[in-house]
């Protein structure tokens, strides 16, 4: 009877030890947090935070691998659970960082959109003021093709913006800004040159 009690107790302890299973809920939560961070475009908006989350997941996986490599009776998933929780937190941070940065980039893109549109209108107005010849268009209108390329760039940026691709929109708008400002500078240069000739005419007399 005494032996039987010992055997049952041993079986119960062994059973408890053998039941040490990976903390699946925590692991799933960590992986889900990483996926959510990726869905929030953390790769674009919070790459450092995303890398930290990926490293935390890799740590968790390494711990799980170590435990899996042990004899069943000696496995312990306490550390893996800790690492999974840390990975989950890192994933959540990457997501919130990405969302915050995305909002910031969105605001920047909106400002940039207004700036580019204003600059385009100004350039078009400048173009209209350019002196023209007898029945011919102004030479400055040679820049019309360059200026004409700005509106499609704005349209593409708007499409990206509407699709929630704010970083892409911002990059496109920066390029549009570079173009429109270069055309504006060239028009102003041409107007200055034309004014310069007028002044010279006054002096020569």
């Amino acid at each position: 009877m005494k032996y039987l009690r010992f055997i049952f107790l041993s079986i119960a302890i062994l059973g408890l030890l053998a039941c040490a299973k990976p903390p699946q809920a925590e692991i799933d939560a960590a992986n889900a947090a990483l996926t959510e961070a990726k869905n929030a475009e953390a790769e674009i908006y919070a790459p450092d935070s995303l890398k930290a989350a990926q490293t935390a997941i890799a740590d968790m996986q390494a711990e799980l691998d170590v435990q899996q490599g042990k004899f069943a009776l000696f496995r312990s998933y306490e550390k893996a659970k800790e690492l999974a929780n840390a990975a989950k937190q890192a994933g959540e941070k990457a997501k919130s960082d990405a969302e915050a940065k995305k909002q910031q980039v969105k605001a920047e893109a909106e400002t940039l959109m207004n700036e580019v549109k204003t600059a385009l209108n100004e350039a078009n107005d400048l173009m209209k003021k350019a002196p023209k010849g007898k029945g011919s268009k102004a030479d400055i209108e040679a820049l019309q093709a360059d200026l004409g390329a700005v509106q499609p760039m704005i349209d593409q940026a708007q499409a990206s913006f509407d699709a929630g691709k704010f970083m892409d929109a911002k990059t496109k708008l920066e390029e549009a800004k570079a173009k429109v400002s270069s055309v504006k500078d060239a028009i102003n240069q041409a107007i200055e040159m034309s004014k310069g000739k007028k002044t010279a005419q006054g002096k020569k007399k």
């Binding site: 890799a58 010849g133 400055i140 034309s194 310069g196």
Partner: protein, 377 residues
């Protein structure tokens, strides 16, 4: 006695615990987690990744290092050995650092090259602008100049916005545009200032000077953009003028926006109500010489068979617009036109020449600096 032995053993054991283990830990290398090297390795890895340097290999070493740390942490602390993790982090650090430095060096070199090329292109552009200030190069060249100037500015703007790849491509195009335009202008000016033409224009000018001893003579000098009134063998008045879209070309046909060259005279004086352009002096273009040249050009196929010779070349008002805007006429500012109108009469000789040989644009074009700069790139 037995108690004494037991006590001695316990004492030795305690001594081992209090001195031996700390001594073992102190002297055994790599028993502590290599946090410092891991942190440095991570920092440089992230930096490299941000720069888009080649960091895949370094990243691989870093992750393997982390895996080793986890593995060692699962051992009893006395048996931990982080030497392999240390090695992996060290390796990751070395590779990431090397790649990052290489990338930065490459980037620095590319930026230096970009800025050097940008400076050269801007220099060529400024040279072209200077030529435009001195000589009327025509609408076509002017349009190309505006486009190439805008390209150059766009390249610079993109660079300032740190959109380097696009800035580089744009600069390549802008550089070629500016250089080609410079070469084209240089070639056309060489043709324009050919020794034969200069000789012919000089003769015409001398002829006008001699003739001015008898009556007022008008001389239009294209490359200086001026109209002179000669009187008693001297310059009596000088006015600035504007031409058509092809100011340096010699007129050959209708619609070429060029101003004719040669000996002409005023055939009609148009008062305020007879011209759209304030006041006008109609010239006898085409003269016999123009007609002969026109037919010859047609025979040689230099102009289309259905081309017409054109006419209605005038010296008129409404000038001072700052551009070459006429269809081949010579435009003056209105107050100048009024003065000129009163100085002339029907029959007043008008000499239109390309140059008096005073313009030093061509000699500036041979400035070695520009070619020394551009050929280096």
């Amino acid at each position: 006695m037995k108690f004494l032995y037991k006590s001695l053993i316990i004492l030795i054991f305690l001594a081992l615990l209090s001195y031996g283990i700390p001594y073992y830990i102190e002297n055994k290398e790599n028993i502590k987690e290599p946090k410092q090297i891991e942190e440095i390795s991570k920092k440089i890895l992230y930096k490299g990744q941000k720069l888009e340097a080649k960091t895949e290999e370094a990243q691989n070493y870093y992750y393997r290092g982390r895996k080793q740390v986890i593995y060692q942490k699962n051992k009893l602390f006395l048996f931990r050995d982080y030497s392999y993790s240390n090695y992996l982090f060290q390796k990751s650090f070395e590779i990431a650092l090397k790649e990052t430095l290489n990338f930065k060096e490459k980037q620095k070199k590319e930026k230096e090259e970009f800025l050097k090329k940008l400076e050269e292109a801007k220099f060529i552009n400024s040279q072209i602008m200077e030529i435009f200030d001195k000589i009327p190069l025509g609408s076509y060249n002017y349009k190309r100049f505006l486009i190439s100037s805008a390209s150059l500015k766009e390249a610079e703007n993109l660079y300032n916005l740190k959109i380097f790849d696009k800035a580089k491509k744009k600069l390549e195009n802008a550089y070629v545009e500016n250089e080609n335009l410079y070469i084209k202008i240089k070639e056309s000016l060489k043709n324009f200032y050919s020794p034969e033409k200069l000789r012919e224009w000089k003769n015409l000018y001398n002829e006008a000077l001699i003739l001015s001893n008898e009556l007022n003579v008008i001389v239009v000098i294209k490359d200086e953009r001026i109209l002179k009134v000669l009187r008693n063998g001297k310059i009596f008045k000088t006015y600035s003028v504007e031409f058509g879209k092809n100011p340096l070309e010699k007129k050959t046909k209708s619609g070429d926006f060029a101003t004719p060259e040669g000996r002409y005279k005023i055939v009609e004086k148009k008062g305020f109500n007879k011209t759209k352009y304030y006041l006008a002096l109609l010239l006898n273009y085409p003269n016999e010489e123009d007609k002969r040249r026109f037919e010859e050009a047609k025979k040689k196929g230099l102009i289309p068979k259905n081309a017409r010779i054109g006419g209605l070349i005038e010296i008129h008002g409404d000038g001072g617009q700052g551009i070459d805007w006429t269809e081949g006429c010579v435009a003056l500012q209105n107050e100048d036109m009024k003065e000129l109108f009163n100085l002339t009469s029907k029959g007043t000789p008008v000499y239109i020449i390309g140059s008096k040989g005073n313009n030093n644009v061509l000699s500036n074009l041979d400035d070695k600096k520009i070619w020394k700069n551009s050929k280096k790139s």
